[in-house]
């Protein structure tokens, strides 16, 4: 029952926090046109640029191949793992989730390798070591522990996944069911809940933040279309 309460709380904090953050970004105006050029000149072009940025990490690719490689391994692995986990939340399981299953299992290793690589840079590269804060290390530790505890349940000490599924479906239907007793599962789920709670307050905000970055989401058309923020418009009536 503690876990049921924890997950309700974590979900509310994650969802509420994200809604608050995103609405805050939406409310804050971008008074000047500052796309990093050369930039697309149309809205469609911007959508493409953003897609490349989100799916392929285009800028990071130009910036650092090592970081790009590890980041791709981690994020790609994480994406597959998350898709695979959908089977604990859906009944019947969506057919595409079934198809992802075999890949999702090994994606956990890929994700962990990516994390180790990213973490290694924080020790091995003097510049990255200089800029790393304790929270940067903790965040990676948290993600890595989630990956390891999850993989352990798959490959070392099997958990009663039918019970796990019953637990989460119960949460969805506001009919809490008991969670199977397993220390690894408790660990895994506590870590995931912590991650959900930390998410909206931390640098993990880079995920929604990228969509609101004016240097990436603005079309380059200042001569064709006037761009004026509400607070700047007020200056016009004053002069």
């Amino acid at each position: 029952m503690i876990f049921a309460a924890l997950f309700y709380a974590a979900f509310l904090i994650l969802a509420g926090g994200l809604v608050y953050r995103i609405s805050d970004y939406l409310r804050t105006p971008a008074p000047l046109k500052i796309p990093t050029t050369p930039a697309p000149t149309t809205g469609g072009g911007v959508a493409l640029r953003m897609t490349r940025e989100v799916l392929l990490f285009e800028s990071l690719f130009k910036g650092s191949l090592w970081t790009w490689g590890f980041a791709m391994l981690f994020h790609g692995g994480l994406a597959l793992v998350l898709m695979r986990h959908l089977r604990y939340f859906t009944q019947p399981v969506w057919s595409w989730v079934d198809m992802v299953q075999p890949f999702g299992i090994y994606a956990g290793f890929v994700m962990a390798i990516g994390l180790v690589g990213l973490w290694g840079r924080r020790f091995l590269v003097d510049r990255i070591r200089y800029i790393s804060t304790p929270s940067d290390h903790l965040m990676l530790a948290l993600l890595l522990m989630i990956a390891i505890s999850g993989l352990s349940m798959k490959f070392l000490d099997h958990t009663d996944i039918i019970g796990v599924k019953a637990f989460f479906l119960g949460l969805e239907h506001f009919d809490p069911q008991p969670l199977p007793a397993s220390p690894l599962l408790y660990l895994h789920l506590s870590l995931v809940a912590s991650l959900m709670i930390i998410f909206p307050f931390s640098k993990l905000l880079h995920a929604p933040g990228v969509f609101f970055s004016p240097s990436r989401n603005q079309p380059d058309n200042p001569r064709e279309h006037r761009h004026l923020s509400p607070w700047a418009a007020k200056l016009e009536s004053e002069s």
Binding site: T28, A30, K33, I34, G45, K62, I131, V210, F212, S215
Partner: protein
């Protein structure tokens, strides 16, 4: 203060340098005095309640600029930017890594504006705003030329320039402004240009130029001033009026207008393209400077506004003029409406001089003889604000192609520098963003290192002996720092200097 300024050695292979903490600590450009500060409406000196005011100002900016808010939140310390700044490469000071420069402000933002920073400051690297921190801001936010190179490589597009501008805005608001930039903005507001060159002096200079060109070519090329009803108002950096090699490009523009038969004029009231309001991140100052140009255009009744060779000025003109003054479409106040009616909207407003010249070349309205530049092997330095903050022509990337096309039309020998240092990846000259002042000479010399390395490569391999550029700051900066790296200071010049050498005046064959 460094007593002897020397250039850092070229790197044998351009590996990323190891960090040297504290290498540039305490470097501090001159602080603006009360007269300079108050002329812009800023407090004359550091106010007693600077801490409260600085934090309040930061809160204010966080509400006004989405860029600042998102950029302070989104960074994951991935380090993709860490080796991209020319000042880091040249000084090895880790606080000149873009991410570390941002963190100087991010740490304070976290302490006062985020929950984890309020609860666990140590954990997330949050810190109090102390006088030491404020001094550190003053030092390191004046070691950033706002060139945006880091923003190219950041997976979230975080632009350190936006954070530097916010920091300078906060510093100004507590009475801790930089002398160089603020004094210059004051001169534009009172006299009309950065140099403080009054109308009569400008008139003399232009008359002198007419005589020089006549002597040189035998042709009466005019340099008109305050001519009502001219078709084009030329807005150019005031350095073009007297500094070397800038003046040769001004002669180039005049010859282009002459050869194409376009009537044009300069304005004595608004004789400056540069807009240092951008450098200090102050919207109101930037707008005030831009409005002088609108006023000049209205008074002179011109049909087109053309901007001369100046990097940040082109960014302001291209990206911001429409927003600031309603030069194009969509503004509703009466002056903007009048201007929109008056300007010929068949042309791009504003137009870069390179867009104008390239258009004339393509239409064969002017003719260039590239043999005139046969003594030169030319390369092109992309200026940061043009490359990463603006565009020319219709296509994205026109800002790279159009100047190169003009050079190829004006000279037979052209070589590009290494891809890693040109176009959107170009390195700043080392003097942009309000740092082109003698009190920062050591930083300027060191910051030029990556560009000098790329130049050395083509000089040794291809015999390059001329680096063309389209920015007044680049020209001044390179003239100063080239000798530190063993080059001739005359090696740098404008694109229109090449045009000036090659253009056919008088009868067209």
């Amino acid at each position: 203060m460094a007593t002897e300024i020397t250039a850092p050695p070229y790197r044998v292979i351009p590996i990323i340098p190891a960090i040297k903490p504290g290498a540039m600590e305490g470097l501090k450009p001159f602080v603006a005095n009360d007269r300079i500060q108050e002329a812009l409406g800023f407090p004359g000196g550091l106010v007693d309640d600077w801490k409260e005011r600085a934090i309040a100002k930061m809160g204010d900016l966080l509400k006004k600029y989405r860029s600042l808010k998102v950029y302070l939140d989104a960074c994951v310390h991935c380090g993709a930017c860490s080796d991209k700044c020319h000042y880091f490469i040249g000084t090895q000071d880790p606080k000149n890594m873009p991410v570390a420069r941002q963190d100087l402000m991010r740490s304070v933002y976290r302490r006062y504006f985020t929950l984890p920073g309020k609860l666990f400051p140590k954990l997330v690297g949050a810190r109090e705003l102390t006088k030491e921190v404020l001094d550190e801001w003053y030092s390191y936010y004046h070691q950033c030329s706002e060139c945006r190179r880091c923003s190219v490589f950041c997976p979230y597009g975080i632009d350190t320039a936006e954070i530097t501008m916010a920091a300078r805005e906060i510093l100004d608001s507590v009475g801790y402004g930089q002398k160089y930039s603020n004094e210059i903005i004051g001169k534009v507001n009172t006299i009309g240009n950065n140099l403080g060159l009054p109308g009569p002096a400008l008139e003399d200079t232009l008359e002198g130029l007419e005589e020089d060109v006549k002597e040189d070519t035998g042709i009466d090329v005019r340099f008109p001033l305050d001519v009502k009803g001219a078709e084009v108002l030329l807005i150019t950096p005031s350095a073009d009026f007297f500094a070397e090699p800038h003046i040769d490009s001004l002669i180039g523009y005049a010859k282009v207008f002459h050869a194409a038969g376009i009537s044009w004029t300069l304005s004595s009231m608004s004789s400056e393209a540069a807009n240092f309001g951008l450098f200090i991140g102050n919207y109101e100052q930037m707008r005030k400077v831009a409005l002088r140009i609108r006023q000049a255009a209205l008074e002179l009744g011109v049909k087109r506004i053309v901007v001369g060779e100046c990097g940040h000025a082109w960014r302001v003109a291209y990206s911001f003029w429409n927003t600031l003054t309603g030069i194009g479409d969509g503004a509703e106040d009466k002056f903007a409406l009048q201007l929109q009616k008056q300007l010929d909207q068949r042309y791009r407003q504003p137009t870069h001089i390179c867009e104008l010249t390239w258009d004339l070349i393509q239409r064969q309205a002017i003719t260039l003889d590239p043999e005139a530049n046969d003594n030169l092997i030319v390369t092109f330095h992309d200026s940061c604000n043009v490359a990463r903050g603006s565009r020319m022509g219709e296509m994205a990337g026109g800002q790279f192609e159009i100047p190169r096309s003009i050079i190829r039309a004006a000279a037979n020998h052209f070589v590009d520098m290494s891809d890693a240092t040109t176009r959107e990846k170009t390195f700043c000259c080392g003097g942009g963003g309000g740092l082109l002042t003698d009190d920062l000479m050591d930083l300027r010399v060191k910051g030029a290192l990556p560009r000098m390395e790329a130049l050395k490569e083509v000089a040794d391999r291809d015999g390059v002996n001329f680096m063309a550029t389209i920015c007044a700051i680049c020209k001044t900066q390179f003239s100063k720092v080239l000798p530190y790296y063993g080059f001739n200071m005359r090696m740098v010049g404008g694109v229109h200097q090449l045009v000036s050498n090659a253009i056919r005046l008088g009868d067209k064959e």
